[in-house]
């Protein structure tokens, strides 16, 4: 990520949500992004996750430049390389946990039996094997977020992104989800997580702090 800028609005109403950020995340890193509300964390995250495109600057995932991709190609990048975990869970209502987890694999063209197997594996990994037929509204917040983690897991992404994944959870569920992320990291996955909480950031190997759309500090845990 080099010299990324994101501008919302025009003229008087112009907001530079992200203002010239350069950032490189190595494979296998566990990075926490912190900063005050409105500092541009989510905006950066959306660009990293190929959900949004920067106004200027270049961004590459695994050497692929995202800037010149069209809508469908961005979908493909999200589908193949990125697992997203949202603060608001973002499961699809009225569809069972298993189907929710299967969904990204379906878009990838994985056979039905195969993706069912992988979905159940992923649900087992987050400890929800017995809830695979439940719909999101039949699950607690913590369980829903674990389903969302399972969905990201099943995709086997090279990059796992989490925007305040524990923002809507109690301390017990927070611990569950963070433990899962630790496990995933231990398996060699790259994780970028946004958080307001210091104890969440403590688990990461690197903490990037943003302020007004700029990087304020970038600290390796080893240096703390």
């Amino acid at each position: 990520m080099h010299d990324i800028t994101k501008v919302y609005g025009q003229g008087e109403a112009e907001v530079r949500a992200v203002d010239g950020i350069s950032l490189t995340v190595e494979p296998g890193e566990y990075v926490a992004i912190m900063g005050a509300s409105g500092s541009g964390k989510s905006t950066v995250m959306n660009i990293i996750g190929a959900l949004d495109v920067a106004t200027s600057g270049t961004y590459k995932i695994d050497g692929v430049d995202i800037g010149d991709l069209d809508d469908d190609a961005l979908s493909l990048v999200r589908n193949r390389r990125i697992g997203f975990i949202f603060q608001a869970f973002n499961l699809i209502p009225r569809m069972s946990a298993a189907v929710n987890v299967e969904l990204p694999l379906m878009y990838r063209g994985v056979r039905r039996s195969e993706r069912r197997r992988r979905a159940l594996d992923a649900l087992a990994k987050v400890g929800l094997a017995d809830r695979s037929h439940h719909q999101p509204n039949e699950l607690s917040g913590g369980q829903q977020q674990r389903v969302a983690v399972a969905r990201a897991l099943a995709m086997e992404p090279s990059l796992m992104l989490a925007d305040e994944p524990t923002g809507n959870l109690d301390s017990r569920s927070t611990a569950d989800v963070l433990d899962l992320l630790d496990e995933i990291h231990a398996e060699g996955k790259t994780i970028v997580i946004i958080t307001h909480e210091d104890d969440v950031a403590e688990r990461a190997g690197r903490v990037v702090t943003l302020r007004d759309g700029k990087v304020e500090s970038d600290v390796l845990a080893a240096a703390r």
């Binding site: 959306n46 959900l51 589908n79 949202f86 973002n90 569809m95």
Partner: protein
């Protein structure tokens, strides 16, 4: 592959919103049912008119006297009436090779009575060939013969309406009836003809000579029925009949004192008129199908708005534009196909019922057409909402509450 997955996703969405799906389906159902039923109704009307015209004899020509009028002014005051000799002349196989037979008819209103009942009807004095010319078999008894005509026997073949009226409980064969006081013996009952126009079963048929002798006296006849050799030669037979009668009456196109009705051309005219009628009915149905289609657009748009967040999630985890587009298009198409099937079921059910004496006849083309059109409607009216859904930007869609 992507097709099947998109179909499955669309199907899940349909099931997830059952009530809305059913309501959408209802619009298409009513439209399809309307098209099929209305066309079937038009076809039924057409069938009934066709069969009643055909029951009169499809190769029948009917010659009647006609006072030629020009702008209300009588051109030829000394009009010659049709005569028995005219009928004899039409039976000339050399001059009229395409005429299979011609029989004079002398009709008059009479009141006929049995022992205890009375019935006002029409008596037809004619030749025995009348029955074959008019395609009128007897359902019981026999026709009268040439010998009966020669000897002016007072025997009669009665129409089924007369038979029911005069002999409701008993067998009319061999019984006596009196028409205007003249006794006739019933020798046959004409098979029921039915028809949409004047009731052809309310008639008493007797030898011409007997009717002339005892009821009407001699003179001009009311009409001559002429049978063409086949239904393909009715036009030729008509020309030959006109030529012969023109010569006998000394008339031409403008002064002609008779008129020839051609059942075949009457049938053509009726069919054309009924075809327009059926097409109009179909158009009314098509409009309701169109309204159903707009209903699909409407509901799909609501659905897209309501599911904006879901679409955002799907895109965030990698659904392509194409997939979303396909899913929504298939959703609309499946809904309209279900509507079409339900509509077909409803139409087939309603088509069992006879309405205003017309039994609807379902036209296969209208069934196939309604299906094809409803798929087209699904694709057409589903495409705008589907495009809207497909082009939603994922972050904006995700922010949507």
């Amino acid at each position: 592959m992507i097709f099947i997955e998109a179909l499955r996703s669309g199907w899940q969405a349909i099931l997830a919103n059952r009530l809305r799906s059913i309501l959408t389906t209802l619009g298409i159902m009513i439209g399809v049912a309307a098209v099929i039923i209305l066309v079937a109704f038009g076809q039924g009307a057409s069938n009934s008119v066709t069969s009643s015209i055909q029951s009169l004899g499809s190769n029948l020509l009917y010659v009647t006297p006609e006072n030629p009028n020009r702008d209300g002014e009588i051109v030829n005051p000394s009009v010659q009436e049709l005569t028995v000799d005219d009928a004899i002349a039409l039976n000339d196989p050399v001059r009229a090779p395409d005429i299979a037979g011609a029989a004079p008819e002398r009709r008059t209103a009479v009141t006929c009575t049995s022992e205890d009942r009375s019935h006002s009807t029409q008596i037809v004095g004619t030749w025995p060939s009348f029955f074959s010319i008019n395609n009128s078999p007897v359902s019981a008894g026999a026709y009268f013969s040439n010998a009966d005509e020669l000897s002016a026997r007072r025997i009669t073949v009665i129409g089924s309406t007369v038979a029911e009226s005069l002999f409701p409980e008993s067998d009319p064969l061999g019984r006596q009836i009196a028409c205007n006081g003249v006794p006739f013996t019933v020798v046959g009952v004409q098979a029921e003809k039915g028809g949409a126009f004047a009731n052809p079963d309310d008639v008493v048929i007797a030898p011409l000579s007997a009717v002339e002798n005892s009821i009407t006296g001699y003179g001009e006849v009311s009409a001559i029925s002429v049978q063409a050799s086949s239904s393909e030669t009715t036009d030729e037979a008509e020309e030959q009949a006109i030529a012969i009668l023109d010569e006998r009456h000394g008339t031409t196109e403008g002064t002609r004192d008779f008129e020839v009705f051609n059942q075949a051309s009457l049938l053509d005219t009726a069919n054309t008129a009924l075809g327009i009628f059926t097409a109009l009915l179909g158009a009314v149905g098509a409009i309701s199908l169109l309204v159903g289609g707009i209903g699909i657009t409407n509901i799909m748009l609501v659905s897209v708005t309501e599911r904006t967040r879901e679409i955002g999630i799907r895109k965030a985890i990698g659904a392509s534009r194409r997939f979303i587009l396909l899913q929504f298009l298939l959703e609309a198409t499946v809904l309209s196909l279900f509507g079409a099937t339900a509509g077909l079921g409803l139409a087939l059910l309603v088509a069992q019922v006879e309405i205003a004496g017309i039994s609807p006849s379902v036209v296969p083309v209208s069934v196939v057409g309604a299906y094809v059109i409803s798929v087209a409607i699904g694709l057409f009216f589903g495409s705008y909402p589907a495009k809207r859904a497909a082009s939603l930007r994922p972050i904006e869609a995700l922010r949507h509450e």
